[in-house]
């Protein structure tokens, strides 16, 4: 079947098997390998992407279900060469080690900051509680999100807090 959706600001149309998971659509069909997978049971959250701005475990959605929606992956987090403050925060505060959970964690953080520009520690912990990091013990992830909050990530007043969608990977630019 054919699906059309917006991925990181660009519209893509592809033929997919009806049963194809969104995570495999992003990784295998579009070649956006920044989205990872780490379990078979929707527990780990390494596959989290934003669908219409909300964190979604992409192993739990079919590509077909996402047709017509807007998907944002880690590849769409930076604005060209300018990193999202969340990305900067993770580098500043050592919010990542192996980097495997990191895309999902950052996207959840982005969604959190979009609705709560100044979250406290407990709010951040709750926001990422559906995701597992095996490396960091979480404290530095919390600090990373706090760093982003302090540096204007969530403060809409300090535009451009939310970066424009990444340079759109136009359909033909994305390796099939």
């Amino acid at each position: 079947m054919q699906v059309t959706m917006t991925v990181n600001g660009a519209e893509v149309t592809r033929d997919v098997e009806p049963r194809q998971l969104l995570v495999h659509f992003l990784r295998d069909t579009l070649g956006l390998t920044g989205t990872h997978w780490g379990c078979d049971t929707s527990n780990c959250g390494t596959c989290v992407v934003l669908v219409d701005g909300e964190p979604v475990k992409s192993c739990t959605a079919l590509a077909a279900m996402t047709a017509g929606h807007e998907v944002r992956t880690v590849e769409g987090l930076a604005d060209g060469a300018t990193l999202d403050p969340v990305q900067q925060g993770f580098m500043e505060e050592h919010g990542l080690q192996c980097g495997f959970c990191t895309p999902g964690m950052m996207l959840t953080a982005r969604a959190l900051l979009d609705r709560d520009p100044d979250p406290d520690e407990q709010t951040i912990r709750e926001a990422i509680s559906g995701q597992i990091c095996r490396c960091t013990g979480y404290a530095t992830i919390v600090r990373s999100v706090r760093w982003a909050a302090r540096h204007g990530a969530g403060a809409a007043a300090e535009a451009p807090a939310i970066p424009a969608p990444a340079a759109p990977p136009a359909a033909e630019e994305v390796p099939a």
Binding site: H24, T41, M91, Q97, C135, G137, Y138
Partner: protein, 797 residues
């Protein structure tokens, strides 16, 4: 040429807040990871690549009656179906393990654990490969399984390894350390003896990235390129040469970015071999990535030690001796990854941080119908089990003596003047100064105040516990005269090249799985040569591009490869001195070093920077006799001893009286890993290990039912802490450099995983003291804690 040499260094590097060498700097690897540009094995796509999937046994112990692959082969997208019989024809059905045993690549006559590999399908895509698994028809004849390790040696227990000639029971090995007679004598005369069965249950490292490989065999030039999730690319290359009969120079192992390892990615799993076979058979690249259940059910588990611990002491709290007997569950194949002469790893460090008169341990390894493995999950070669045992037992003794556990530890520490300290099982502790570390942890925790709070809460019936642990690790294996794995000495290499413009590349035999090697090793070189870390490229994870070495596990990267980098840098520095002398028309002994530059003694204005010397070396300077025209060096470092990091941990828990739920309120960790290269990375390593420790102590557990069904085979059942179950860690440090290591560093990767479980369990047991509980085994789940409160603590099975 002159122009090049005079180019200013990267201005960012000279900013005052950016250390050239040791100190907190951001990680060099992070920019790619935060952009989603890491390159993990499953990200690799090669032209014409096919996908493999493994059919696994649903039974723990069964005879394989028949396998029918006809329907699977008829699937339009399937290219090959491989069974154990096919592999027998290629002499590949069995592969040697890292412990002088063999392991079935695909089962032939029998399956021996649930999840064992039975057949391999190669298909166009991952979905089709999985579909085809459903089309394979296997007939099993069920056999009684051996599940309880305590029954494995019963006469009449089913013999699991009937493939091994002469094997008539499930016994693997007996091993001991220390002096039994001397220890028994001390125990016989002791005023106080405490004894407890302490179980370290089976757990799993479960890195977020599962294991996998992409095998690309080129039939024309006979070269195998193997992308693998491996912590030890060079050891794998050599082993593949031995197993598959492919000449070693025709094998290239590439370990790209690794999504966490923790020991899970040391061994060679059947899936890796099957990907290679699949590629040879189909003539196309084959990718195999296991799913999470496969990871938890079939790859290297950790621990599974049943330990009878005993401590002898005087009534006033002087610990005299420790002894233990251990029953070690190694699963269906003895596939632990550890030095040959140490079948129980470094477990004999169970004497801990205490000055003892005697110690003895004996370990018996047995087969059961469970997945093979045993040395993983940041265990420092079984130091986890050792530290857990002694630190749990010291608390049992404290309860017996009605003495404060902090006081008891302080009273028995090895004293600073006793280092290097030879313990009773043969280890020589390189350096230590334990009391200040312990005191710092107690101060940070506000220990006295916590005890007051606890007393007050107890009087109200509330359950609060304070747990301590003080650990000494033995890491950085190791001196090659004592330590090898399958005959390969445990040395590691580093190669340093300074390019003509003064930038450098360092090539390593070890491989990062998130530890930040690209940063840390650049910092070691920066510290030695004064070249800014951003001007240094760190190359690792590719056997065609790096020197030989045994890889990253057992906290050995900094102790071993770190030593290699420092010594290679020093060779470069000496060479630079000779060249600088030639350039300055003076003698090498008339030059003095300051970071990044040789200058003339007494005339600091006259000198040459490393960049100037590099250009000279590669340029037209007339070189002194015996010096060739480069600024390169290579070292394979054979460490003279292991290193002995240590630390003091304090955990505070609250236990819900109604539900048994444990809440970790605070965790204070003071670590001493010797010289500190990058404090930020060290703190990160500690944090991660602390979360592991809380996980193991409270929730992580691979259990089995009586049929040998794995009860921890998914993240629904194998619980890992989320951000909600762990506190904000409070860390501190002391610095006691290793006297024998080139930069005094001891390694930090596993300290917290080793040291934290006893602190958490000691806290839980302390909270339950009002119920008369003196010991309970991990995991301290609500149900198990509640049972303990009712006076019925049960061992985990």
């Amino acid at each position: 040429m002159t122009e090049l040499a005079e180019r200013p260094a990267n201005p960012a590097a000279t900013a005052a807040d950016r250390p050239i060498g040791f100190g907190r700097i951001q990680r060099k690897e992070d920019p790619r990871f935060v952009r989603g540009r890491g390159r993990y094995v499953d990200d690799i796509v090669l032209p014409g690549m096919l996908h493999g999937a493994i059919l696994r046994s649903p039974m723990a112990h069964a005879r394989l009656v028949s396998i029918d692959t006809t329907e699977a082969l008829a699937h339009p997208k399937v290219h090959a179906v491989i069974t154990g019989r096919d592999l027998e024809g290629l002499n590949l059905a069995w592969a040697p393990t890292l412990s002088a045993d063999v392991q079935a690549v695909l089962a032939t006559a029998k399956v021996r654990f649930q999840g064992q590999e039975v057949a391999f399908v190669v298909a166009d895509d991952r979905y089709a490969a999985r579909d085809a698994l459903e089309l394979i028809d296997v007939e099993y004849e069920e056999l009684p399984p051996v599940v309880d390790v305590r029954r494995a040696l019963d006469p009449g227990a089913p013999v699991i390894r009937d493939d091994k000639e002469g094997q008539t029971d499930n016994h693997i090995f007996d091993w001991e350390a220390g002096d039994r007679a001397e220890t028994d004598a001390v125990f016989a005369a002791a005023e106080v003896v405490v004894s407890e069965e302490v179980v370290y249950p089976r757990v799993h490292p479960a890195p977020m990235e599962t294991c996998g490989a992409v095998a690309d065999y080129d039939p024309v030039d006979g070269k195998l390129t193997l992308y693998e999730t491996t912590q030890a690319p060079h050891a794998h290359r050599t082993l593949f040469a031995m197993v598959a009969g492919i000449p070693e120079h025709k094998i290239r192992v590439i370990s790209p970015d690794i999504g966490g390892g923790f020991g899970n990615k040391v061994g060679i799993y059947p899936g890796y071999i099957l990907a290679v076979v699949g590629s040879i058979v189909t003539g196309r690249p084959v990718k195999w990535m296991e799913d999470r259940s496969e990871n938890l059910m079939s790859t290297s588990f950790a621990r599974d030690y049943v330990m009878r611990g005993e401590v002898a002491a005087t009534r006033d709290g002087k610990i005299l001796a420790v002894r233990t007997q251990v029953l070690a569950d190694h699963g269906a194949f003895n596939a632990t990854a550890q030095p040959t002469k140490y079948p129980a790893g470094f477990f004999s460090i169970f004497t801990g941080s205490y000055d003892l008169q005697a110690a003895h341990c004996s370990v018996t390894g047995v087969y059961t119908n469970k997945a093979p493995g045993g040395v993983a999950y940041a265990c420092s070669f079984r130091v986890t089990e050792a530290v857990y045992l002694v630190e749990r037992m010291v608390d049992v003794l404290a309860a017996e003596l009605e003495m404060d556990p902090a006081e008891l530890r302080l009273r028995n520490f090895i004293r600073p003047e006793q280092f290097p300290y030879k313990n009773k099982t043969g280890w020589e502790y390189d350096s230590g100064d334990y009391e200040p570390t312990m005191q710092l942890a107690l101060r940070m925790a506000g220990y006295e105040e916590l005890r007051r709070e606890q007393a007050e809460k107890r009087s109200r019936g509330e359950l609060m516990g304070i747990g301590l642990s003080f650990f000494t690790e033995t890491v950085g294996a190791g001196p090659r005269k004592h330590m090898d794995i399958v005959g390969l000495g445990m040395a590691d290499g580093a190669e340093v090249r300074v390019h003509p413009t003064g930038k450098a590349v360092v090539r390593l035999s070890v491989q990062s799985q998130g530890q930040g090697h690209e940063t840390t090793f650049a910092q070691i070189l920066a510290e030695e040569l004064g070249i800014p870390p951003e001007d240094i490229d760190v190359v690792h994870g590719d056997t065609d591009q790096t020197p030989f070495g045994l890889g990253t596990y057992g906290s050995r990267s900094t102790p071993v490869s770190g030593g290699a980098v420092a010594l290679a840098a020093r060779k470069v520095k000496e060479k630079a001195r000779a060249i600088a002398a030639a350039m300055l028309e003076t003698r090498p002994e008339d030059l003095e070093w300051e970071k990044g530059r040789w200058y003339v003694k007494g005339d600091p204005g006259v000198g040459k920077t490393i960049a100037e010397i590099a250009l000279g070396a590669h340029g037209t300077v007339e070189l002194p006799e015996g010096i060739d025209g480069n600024l390169d060096a290579e070292v394979t470092y054979d460490p003279p001893n292991l290193t002995f990091p240590f630390g003091a941990y304090v955990c505070v828990v609250d236990v819900d009286r109604g539900t048994g739920k444990v809440h970790v309120r605070r965790f204070v960790a003071v670590d001493d890993c010797g010289t500190r290269i990058n404090p930020m990375i060290i703190e990160g390593q500690v944090h991660g290990g602390l979360a592991d420790g809380v996980g193991m102590a409270l929730m992580e557990f691979i259990g089995f039912d009586e049929q040998g069904n794995n009860l921890g085979g998914s993240f629904m059942d194998y619980l890992i802490p989320t951000a909600m179950e762990v506190p904000d860690w409070e860390t501190g440090h002391t610095v006691t450099p290793s006297p024998h290591h080139p930069i005094g560093a001891k390694g930090i990767g596993e300290s917290a995983t080793v040291g934290s479980p006893p602190a958490v369990v000691n806290a839980v047991v302390d909270a339950l003291a009002p119920f008369g509980v003196r010991h309970m085994d991990m995991p301290c789940t609500p149900a198990r804690v509640w049972e303990a409160m009712q006076g019925r603590p049960t061992p985990p099975i």
